[in-house]
């Protein structure tokens, strides 16, 4: 009998285990440059190629810490429900989640950790180890419950294309892309440079994911110097849609979707309430500036409803505009175990968001839409 899906969580974060990279990369070749946990000033931190990762946290897992505040400083205190397949499945069961999409933690919550200026060979090996780690420890263990996404070595488009092919063979069902490539000294989306990657993704039917904030670090009117961690976290999360909305506007107006009409883009941890803004603003500018004369044949909102997906986890106002966004374009997530996560209270939050929403529409959002995106 086919596995029956009840709820599919399209954004959770998998904490990588301490040996995720050390057991898969050549010590002889890379020495201490391999991502690993080291002791520093009385706490443990992840290091890669001489750089501290994840802002010095050993794990980002506020959502499973009772006060949502006191993060562990040592690996031994990181709850295993964030890094073992069994532990995660227990956590999923508690929230009624049948399957979940895994995004990284140490490898960059938006897939950016290895995209900084780095030796392209080292980048390739780090990314490959991450992708194989996910495949071996999660996909191979419970393929119907874990949906894995690959990172790609973006330093060259050739390497990215090659890794995407490897990832597709290894069971990955999509990949992460950074949102503001210019910040990484890479060509912009509006340029043709990325076309081989888009073409391969379209051919392999691998959706492109922008996870909030897709590595767009500098684009943030952040807290004042000296602000508390909690306030900074709140500000960062609240501001993130200002970035997501620009990523999608840049895609819709930059012509990528026009040139690759079967390519799918997913905004993870995107929120949905801001989407009407992007669609109305892009349609308005498309019409006012006559962009249909410049190669953008389809109206931006039509393109969005044919090729893009967005997700939510706590909203109500956005859900009321679902017919305008497109009920078929909306997914649901928990963001387990991040600071903003609704775990373990998915029932409560779904009740709030789905007030007045017919059953069949709920089913589309929780099951049918993600099944279509990930071909489950």
């Amino acid at each position: 009998m086919a596995f029956e899906y009840k709820r599919i969580d399209v954004d959770s974060h998998c904490q990588e285990k301490p040996d995720a990279w050390t057991s898969r990369m050549s010590k002889a070749k890379w020495g201490d440059r391999i991502p690993q946990i080291v002791e520093r000033d009385g706490r443990e931190v992840w290091m890669c190629d001489g750089r501290v990762m994840m802002n010095g946290w050993v794990s980002l897992c506020h959502g499973v810490i009772p006060d949502r505040k006191s993060l562990p400083t040592h690996w031994r205190d990181v709850p295993s429900i964030v890094y073992t397949a069994d532990g995660r499945m227990r956590a999923m069961d508690r929230d009624g989640v049948s399957a979940q999409v895994l995004f990284p933690n140490t490898a960059g919550v938006g897939g950016e950790a290895f995209m900084m200026r780095m030796d392209p060979e080292l980048q390739k090996d780090c990314v490959r180890a991450y992708n194989d780690y996910l495949a071996e420890e999660f996909y191979d263990v419970a393929p119907h419950r874990f949906i894995t996404l690959a990172e790609l070595p973006l330093a060259t488009v050739e390497a990215a294309v090659a890794e995407l092919k490897h990832a597709a063979n290894r069971g990955h069902r999509g990949f992460l892309m950074i949102g503001a490539t210019e910040q990484y000294r890479l060509p912009a989306f509006a340029e043709r440079y990325w076309d081989p990657l888009w073409a391969t993704a379209q051919e392999l039917d691998m959706p492109v994911h922008f996870h909030n904030v897709a590595g767009a670090k500098r684009l943030n009117l952040g807290s004042e110097p000296g602000a508390s961690d909690m306030k900074t976290l709140a500000m960062g999360s609240a501001n993130s849609f200002a970035l997501s909305s620009q990523i999608f506007a840049n895609l819709l107006l930059g012509g990528v979707l026009e040139r690759f009409p079967k390519l799918t883009f997913v905004g993870a941890e995107s929120g949905i309430g801001w989407v009407p803004y992007v669609l109305e603003a892009c349609d308005y500018e498309w019409e006012r500036n006559e962009l249909y004369k410049n190669g953008l044949k389809r109206k931006p909102s039509d393109v969005f409803r044919q090729q893009c997906y967005v997700d939510f986890w706590y909203e109500q106002a956005g859900i009321k505009l679902r017919d305008y966004i497109g009920v078929d374009r909306i997914l649901w997530e928990t963001d387990f175990p991040h600071p903003t996560s609704i775990w373990p209270a998915a029932d409560k939050w779904l009740k709030w968001s789905f007030e007045g929403v017919p059953q069949e529409e709920q089913h589309k959002i929780l099951v049918e839409n993600p099944k279509r995106v990930y071909k489950l």
Binding site: D67, R68, A180, E182, P187, A188, F189, A190, E191, A216, R218, L219, N220, L221, S223, E224, P225, A227, S228, M230, K231, A234, M235, S237, A238, N239, F241, A242, S245, Q246, I247, A249, N250, L253, G254, G255, G273, W274, P276, Y277, V278, L279, E280, A281, C282, E285, W286, R288, N289, L291, N294, E315, Q316, A317, G318, K320, L321, Y324, P339, T340
Partner: protein
């Protein structure tokens, strides 16, 4: 209601005349540091401020008046009169069905940032004054249909306070601040630091709104790739600017400024309203998830603060108006953004009819004029 059209535009731009500062300031004291227009090697004319040629900035951003909504005049002789002459402007307002127009600058920066960036503080102060006096002496003197707003020398908190007080005494009804003074002028503190409290105190006492124009926070906006053609670049620019406003709304709340100054009334012109319900839900969610009552002493929900104090603007939205009760019906203002490329001009009437087709008269009047009249104390 005595208004002819029932429409107040809360965000339009004057275009400064080339001799504005040259006429009003001492040549002997400042020489070429005075903002002026100079012919460049390629034959175009550009503003020169404190010796810096503003090559990236248009001489006169007037896209709404050009045929393709993009081409802008490269020399002053081509600049349409309606952007710099109050009498010609009144005629354009009549054509487009606008009763009152709230004024923002152009050469001084959409939020006064070109003046705030001036390094010599006394020059910065004097330039702000000259602009502010010109608005009163030329624009308001021509017609009470112009709602005057002053720019502030935001390179210094003290200077900004004095100019705010002087300008309001001279008749200004609103104050314009750049969103990131510290990025524009290294002498200025970060906007969210308590260093600015004397200004917020003064503005509260003056009982006028403080306005943060979209696009004045470059670090929250994506770069525009050179691969865009000019029309595409313009389109993306206009979309990204409003996204920047969203970050600023969040910041004014989460910085604690609006908690500490419960009568401060920030306006976010060019913000758009479509995303506001989401912004408020996101803020409330974070406030709850990060325990900001205990951790920061923020006792009210961020959405309550917004509904008590903030104003946002709409011009191109239909769907956003469906969610107007989440935004707060008394929080929404309408704008035309004349004469910039994003403007509804010269089709404001048609766009209003189309966007407000399903909005009841009471709500429509609040958004199109009553909220603005209350905020700016205008008789309607």
């Amino acid at each position: 209601m005595g208004l002819r059209f029932g429409v107040i535009s809360v965000d339009d731009h004057v275009v400064e005349v080339p001799d504005l500062w040259v006429q009003g300031m001492s040549q002997a004291k400042w020489g070429d540091l005075i903002p002026h227009v100079a012919v460049q090697a390629d034959g175009t004319e550009r503003w020169v401020i404190e010796g810096q040629v503003k090559t990236a900035n248009s001489l006169a951003p007037t896209g709404a008046l050009s045929k393709d909504r993009g081409a802008e005049p490269q020399v002053w002789s081509q600049v349409p009169q309606s952007v710099h002459d109050p009498h010609a402007r009144l005629a354009a307002m009549d054509v487009d069905g606008i009763d009152y127009s709230v004024l923002y600058p152009s050469a001084a920066g959409i939020s006064g940032e070109a003046i705030c960036a001036i390094k010599a503080l006394d020059l910065q102060i004097e330039c702000a004054r000259v602009y502010n006096d010109w608005i009163i002496d030329v624009w308001t003197a021509a017609s009470s249909r112009f709602v005057p707003q002053a720019i502030l020398p935001a390179g210094s908190v003290e200077a900004a306070v004095s100019e705010a007080q002087r300008a309001v005494a001279r008749g200004h009804k609103g104050l314009i601040m750049p969103a990131q003074p510290s990025q524009i002028n290294p002498a200025a503190p970060h906007l969210y630091k308590p260093d600015w409290d004397p200004l917020w105190t003064a503005i509260q006492e003056l009982d006028v709104p403080v306005c943060f124009h979209a696009g004045s926070a470059p670090s929250v906006m994506f770069e525009i790739s050179p691969a865009y053609d000019p029309a595409g670049a313009r389109a993306f620019d206009n979309v990204r600017q409003s996204a920047g406003s969203a970050a600023l709304i969040n910041g004014m709340v989460l910085s604690g400024i609006l908690y500490r100054f419960p009568k401060l009334q920030p306006v976010f012109p060019g913000s758009a309203i479509d995303y506001v319900p989401f912004a408020l839900e996101a803020l409330d969610h974070q406030w709850e998830r990060q325990h900001l009552v205990e951790n920061e002493g923020f006792t009210e929900r961020p959405s309550e603060i917004f509904h008590r104090q903030c104003y946002v603007t709409t011009w191109r939205e239909r769907v956003g108006l469906r969610n107007r009760n989440y935004v707060g019906i008394d929080r929404i203002l309408w704008e035309s953004e004349f004469p910039r490329s994003a403007s509804t001009y010269p089709e404001s009437t048609r766009m209003i009819e189309s966007n407000f087709a399903e909005v009841p008269v009471r709500d429509r009047e609040l958004i199109l004029c009553r909220n603005a009249a209350r905020l700016y104390k205008l008789s309607i």
